[in-house]
């Protein structure tokens, strides 16, 4: 039996609904239709009255989840696309993220953001917004890269007492497969060394982990041993594991699919430079998507986001520095 990244997300929601009566799902087309990507397939049948179709009102979707969470529920909000979450941005960053700080009342909501592009998706169905949400105090931002993490981290997201932005990558939905779902996983706030190597550290998350691993395969043939660290959760992120890796390799390349300005990559590099300057033999580098809106045509889209070739080229240069 194989299970995809998308099915893992569905299975995690099914388990959360089964185990915890406080959980319900609210989002556009999530009911009988099963969601735009089928992440809630058959859940409405299985859990009558707990999978609610929402009007096209992201602000009200998130606002209502906050109110329900205050009353002790554990809502899961499915944004149809990460790109549309900004319509509910105010509720997320000003209401949900500040609630505990202001009132001592927790806001345990999970907001699922189908993120990243597929060929032809264009500027408004392809965004990666983890950097944007990471800017706001009070939010937890998860970026699972594997089938196993999609499953265990979504379950953790529902359990966490704070608002979680769960960035699930659409490119991985059906391309990533695993044999079975795990019973347990690493805690969400712990980074994973996805591949060991002595020459260079690549820190990546979400779909970029796989591009980094592909680059590492190529570089191994050239005699360069790359260590790949999968952040898993970008806010908060596991600086200790990153510093541990940089201590071994002395070189750091950060790869993320969001835009470069003030992003996860910048934060990781700033933290490493601040706390581990003495560990570095070369200036840390970063690769993001290009600083433009996301292009529609596959010819352009293919080079807009970081690819294994671009990562490998940057890694070679950094290795030679």
């Amino acid at each position: 039996m194989t299970i995809t990244y998308l099915e893992a997300i569905r299975e995690a929601q099914e388990k959360a609904l089964r185990d915890d009566q406080r959980v319900y799902i609210y989002g556009q087309d999530v009911g009988a239709f099963g969601g735009a990507f089928k992440a809630t397939k058959n859940l409405a049948k299985e859990f009558p009255g707990r999978i609610l179709d929402a009007p096209i009102s992201e602000d009200a979707m998130v606002g209502s989840a906050i109110g329900a969470a205050i009353e002790g529920m554990r809502p899961i909000i499915e944004m149809q696309f990460a790109d549309f979450s900004v319509v509910g941005f105010n509720q997320i960053v000003n209401q949900a993220a500040t609630l505990f700080w202001r009132t001592q009342v927790a806001c345990p909501i999970t907001i699922r953001l189908p993120s990243g592009g597929n060929p032809g998706s264009g500027p408004f169905h392809s965004q990666c917004l983890e950097s944007l949400y990471s800017h706001f105090p009070g939010l937890v931002v998860m970026t699972p890269a594997t089938v196993e993490d999609a499953y265990t981290m979504l379950l953790e997201a529902v359990e966490i007492d704070d608002p979680v932005i769960f960035c699930e990558h659409k490119y991985l939905y059906n391309r990533l497969k695993s044999d079975a779902l795990p019973e347990t996983g690493l805690p969400y706030d712990t980074a994973r060394v996805a591949r060991s190597g002595r020459d260079l550290t690549i820190v990546a998350y979400s779909a970029m982990v796989h591009e980094a691993l592909a680059a590492a395969d190529q570089l191994r043939k050239e005699g360069i041993e790359v260590e790949v660290v999968d952040l898993r959760c970008v806010k908060p992120f596991d600086l200790k594991t990153v510093l541990g890796s940089v201590a071994r390799t002395a070189r750091l390349l950060c790869v993320g699919e969001s835009w470069p300005w003030g992003g996860v990559n910048s934060e990781v590099i700033a933290s490493v430079v601040t706390h581990g300057f003495h560990l570095l033999d070369a200036p840390p580098q970063r690769i993001n998507s290009k600083d433009t809106p996301i292009p529609f045509h596959p010819n352009l889209w293919g080079v807009h986001k970081p690819s294994s070739q671009v990562i490998a080229a940057a890694a070679r240069k950094l290795h030679e520095w």
Binding site: Y24, R50, L52, A54, P55, S57, E58, D59, A60, M61, V62, G63, S64, A65, I66, G67, A68, A69, I70, E71, G72, M73, P75, N90, Q91, N94, Q95, A97, T98, L99, F100, W101, R102, T103, Q104, V105, A106, C107, P108, P137, G138, V140, I160, D161, D162, P187, D189, P236
Partner: protein, 344 residues
Amino acid sequence: MLDTLKEPKREVVSSVSREQYVDAFRWMLLGRTVEEKLASLWRTGKISGGVYLGKGQEAISAALGIMLKSGDIFGPLIRDQAGRLAFGEPLIDVFRVHFGSRTGLSRGRDGNVHRGNPREGYHAMISHLGSLISVVAGALLARRFKGDASAIGATTIGDGGTSTGAFHEAINMAAIEKLPLVVVVVNNQYAYSTPNSRQFACSDLVDRAIGYGVEGHSLDGTDLRDCLEVLAHATARARAGRGPQMVVGSCLRLTGHAEHDDAFYMDKSLYHTRLGRDCLKVAETYLQQHQWADEVLLENWRKNAKERVEEAVADAQREPLADPSTETWCPYATQRIAEALLVR
């Protein structure tokens, strides 16, 4: 709209009892007294940031507050001091939050009108207008999930707040879910300095109710009796499962947007219309006309309100203020994250 506020059509025999009227009036009076004190504390530099007052809106606010029962949900806005007290806000919390007391609910982290006790169904607004409506709706959704069909939720908004997308999304959503939500639109004619003519083009905001598929009601916000009758009716209908109720109350903001604002831009002629009446004065006259209270009793109530306020201020002033050295600087509720931050 500005000059069309007419005396409401009334039942010959009002359903409002002396007890209820007096109850609401005393919350109005206490709210006004609290706010006069807040204004004076602000003028003498005892309060940081803004002080937002509800002068002229106490009748609507208090009437709404007393219609809510224990277990109901309330999401007040900036001019709801009277309603907050009627809903059960402890007097001292008003001053704790304004002073930034370490003991208060927000511990100096947020101030003035951004206060509440959400765990008790008393929600703490943020500054973004319209955004609290869906939160109250969501709390009602949770009650439905939990099988509690007895509670209703109420929230207020101004004329300006009706222009937001959040207002539209939330009422539409609440209507779809047929939630027992009462949205009270207090049309006080101005949003900061912007008059209604620059805020909306419909002839009456209550007409929007039809568009949302909810029941609409209008009331004269200067007349406590009308406020009590209409809000009793609207809250009863919400309680009876008739879905969201939109109540539009008309009045005039008898103050600036906040204490720093002298409201020079307001059309002064409005003060001489029915809209411009001070609801507290109107209620005092009503009480006397119906021989429900004489001047001696009114003076007693005023004195009592002042004493209670002075006592609360004195108590709150004795409390320690927010202190950076005792602040956790941690915005997370999750134990694991909080512990990691504290170690760092």
